[in-house]
């Protein structure tokens, strides 16, 4: 009788352990699943300033001359990055609905050929989807010969649907060296 009770208990323990281990495994996978879920969520909502490589389709919109939005341009580099990188102008006053072009300057400080990629980010986050880049150097990899200096253009338009409380939008690029993703 004693062994019977013990066996029944062992079965019960095994069942509990098996189920809990399943939960553990599922939660471990869930942690990783959050990564693609997060990207999808950011893409749908345009939150988090993720404007990524999205090319805006040029469509005719009315220019809102009554409204002026300040666009600030920021360039950043991680420590030790082998470039010089800066916006040509740091701020512009723009009307929603009108196309503008500006440039970023970059210079290869090394004596080798380098390939870089700029990653854009827009703040405030909710403004990101209203900041549309029609043409951007961030859409492509940028190759630089040793010591080469070049101006890289970006053409953008601010959607007139930009929330009225937003008066300043900041466009920031971080320029990464491509063969060394670790930065």
């Amino acid at each position: 009788m004693a062994t019977q009770a013990t066996n029944a208990l062992a079965v019960a323990h095994r069942r509990v352990v098996r189920r809990l281990l399943l939960v553990v495994a599922a939660m471990f996978v869930f942690g990783f699943a959050l990564a693609p879920l997060y990207d999808v969520l950011c893409q749908i909502t345009g939150l988090n300033g993720k404007t990524g490589g999205r090319v805006a389709v040029a469509r005719p919109v009315a220019v809102d001359e009554t409204r002026t939005v300040t666009v600030e341009f920021v360039a950043s580099l991680n420590a030790g990055a082998p470039w010089e990188f800066a916006p040509k102008v740091t701020r512009m006053a723009v009307h929603p609905g009108q196309y503008y072009q500006t440039q970023y300057l970059a210079r290869n400080l090394t004596d080798q050929r380098l390939v870089g990629q700029a990653i854009p980010s827009v703040t405030p986050g909710p403004a990101a989807r209203h900041f549309q880049k029609v043409e951007c150097f961030c859409f492509n990899r940028q190759a630089f010969q040793a010591g080469e200096e070049r101006a890289m253009p970006v053409t953008f338009i601010i959607d007139p649907e930009l929330p009225p409380e937003v008066r300043t939008v900041t466009l920031s690029y971080t320029f990464f060296k491509l063969d060394d993703a670790g930065g």
Binding site: A12, V23, V24, F28, G31, G125, A181, G182
Partner: protein, 529 residues
């Protein structure tokens, strides 16, 4: 599955076998009492190690300027202080109490999976040896904060893989402990011990164990992503490769917020056990306590964004996280109300465990209130990353979690050892601690409101006075804990013999056993009611 301690049902006496002798007893033990003791002693050691880190931090902050340590080492100390206290002191202490008390409280002969129990403890010393060894590596230990935010955390030098592996080991240990607790509670309750008759400590631990199982794997996942980002070229958190460092914060706090309840729910259970004993009244609102604990656990999964109000979030997100966070005050308020109602018109006496329990109720509530202030998203923009946050979470963790652990140890130590604690020394320890902890952390509220950032080794001159007061409190509190150590050792070695019931108003299965508790108990399950 090996049921190592399967009860020999035909044995009439439960004192048939004592523990084996020598070191082997502790290395190979599968006895829940031995493992509980090991957990508690390990936790005490970590408490002093983490505490000494804190004292170096407070010594450096006694005056503006750099006096004792360089800023880089200071950052290592803040990081390791947090990791050691969270994963080494508070969590193992609760697991130790669970090991000792859950079988005794539900009438089980041992934990359900005794051999795994041994393993889950013995992983810990290795995990912390690994973590603390990083201090001696070239480049030192982790210095990017315990939250390990990338990209800063990825700049950690040689210590990085050690830290990640240590966290993995702590996670494995916690998950095994939690599985054991759940299996024990679900399968080994004595006949008649229905779920809604379980002591509240058992209930809170059951819920805590589910939290652990749900979130420790998520932590394991996210630190693994850090590891592959650093060494294997993935880009989970690397913007250059299409990742996003902000995503780390979301995943981390999805673990991190339930984690803070993991560190307080068992404390709620201890306080709910001690207050009825010394008020000599049954706990007021037992069922509402169970439901409140479950609601807090549920809410903990949907409030993580309140750690990230300033990171950038749409208005709807800020509002969602703000309201759900404030909602937690409702079940927590129910608990505080019930504790006070239990004391209301009770025949209260104020032995050491009760003093700590009452201080817990008062001081934890202060921590709860500052938590509500931080929950208000627009106000949080001012408080974020200031000493106000430091004051808040230390109020819930030190006079909250740590006091509840000490209350529990003082309360059950006579049952474990058969000797009464030194009451006079216990009260002295209590008063020094309660004064020390308030002198230590209360001024930090003011520092934070005045704008002093956290995690800095030097500060502007106008913060000097409150920092000095805080440091004096830190040394008072820190050195008072030696009294606790002394009292525990003295109680283990001898003292006035304890009766079986120990405390006059104590209720529950553990008090029907002799003091000290025999090595094997409840070989035959007791029948409840």
């Amino acid at each position: 599955m090996n049921i190592a301690a399967a009860p020999a049902l035909n044995h009439e006496h439960d004192t048939h076998a004592g523990p084996p002798r020598g070191l082997g007893r502790w290395l190979l033990t599968t006895n829940h009492k031995d493992i509980g003791t090991l957990y508690l002693l390990f936790s005490l050691l970590m408490f002093f190690i983490g505490g000494s880190f804190a004292l170096v931090i407070r010594a450096e902050l006694f005056q503006p300027g750099l006096q004792i340590v360089n800023p880089y080492f200071f950052n290592q100390l803040t990081t390791l202080h947090a990791l050691v206290m969270i994963f080494g002191a508070v969590m193992p202490a609760f697991v130790g109490l669970a090991n000792w008390q859950i079988p005794l409280m539900i009438g089980a002969p041992d934990m359900a999976l005794p051999r795994m129990n041994n393993w889950s403890f013995w992983i810990l010393p290795f995990a912390f040896a690994l973590l603390l060894s990083t201090l001696f590596l070239p480049g030192g230990g982790p210095a990017g904060g315990w939250t390990l935010y990338p990209p800063l955390a990825l700049q950690t030098g040689q210590a990085f893989p050690f830290v990640i592996l240590a966290i993995h080991m702590m996670g494995v240990s916690s998950i095994m402990g939690a599985i054991n607790v759940i299996a024990t509670i679900l399968n080994l309750r004595a006949p008649g011990m229905t779920l809604m008759r379980m002591p509240l400590f058992v209930w809170t631990w059951l819920i805590t164990a589910f939290l652990l199982i749900a979130v420790m794997p998520v932590l394991a996942g996210t630190v693994t992503m850090l590891l592959t980002d650093k060494f294997f070229g993935t880009s989970f958190f690397n913007a250059a490769g299409g990742g996003d460092p902000v995503m780390f914060q979301h995943i981390f706090w999805f673990f991190g917020h339930p984690e803070v309840y993991i560190m307080i729910l068992p404390g709620f259970g201890i306080i709910s056990t001690i207050i009825p004993t010394f008020a000599r009244k049954p706990l007021f609102g037992y069922a509402s306590m169970v439901y409140a604990t479950a609601s807090i656990a549920f809410l903990s999964f949907i409030v993580w964004g309140h750690h990230m109000f300033t990171v950038g979030m749409p208005l709807a997100g800020e509002l969602f996280f703000m309201y759900t966070t404030m909602l937690i005050a409702v079940p927590t308020g129910v608990k505080v109300f019930n504790w006070i109602s239990t004391m209301w018109r009770g025949s209260m006496t104020f032995e050491t465990p009760m003093l700590f329990a009452i201080a817990f109720v008062v001081l934890f509530s202060i921590g709860g209130f500052s938590g509500l202030m931080l929950a208000i998203a627009p106000a949080d923009f001012q408080y974020q990353d200031t000493y106000f946050v430091v004051a808040h979470f230390h109020y819930v963790l030190v006079p909250g979690a740590v006091f509840s652990i000490m209350a529990g140890v003082y309360y059950w130590l006579p049952k474990w050892t058969g000797h009464m604690i030194n009451e006079k020394l216990g009260r002295l320890h209590f008063w020094l601690s309660v004064v020390g902890v308030n002198v230590l952390f209360f001024p930090q509220h003011f520092l934070g409101l005045a704008g002093m950032p956290r995690r800095i080794p030097d500060y502007a001159l106008q913060f000097t006075e409150f920092n000095m007061i805080s440091s004096i409190g830190a040394f008072l509190f820190g050195f008072s804990q030696l009294l606790f150590l002394y009292n525990v050792i003295q109680t283990i070695r001898g003292g006035e013999p304890a009766t079986d019931q120990v405390w006059e108003g104590a209720q529950g299965l553990e008090w029907t056993l002799p003091s000290p508790v025999p090595y094997h108990t409840f070989a035959t399950a007791p029948v409840v009611e």
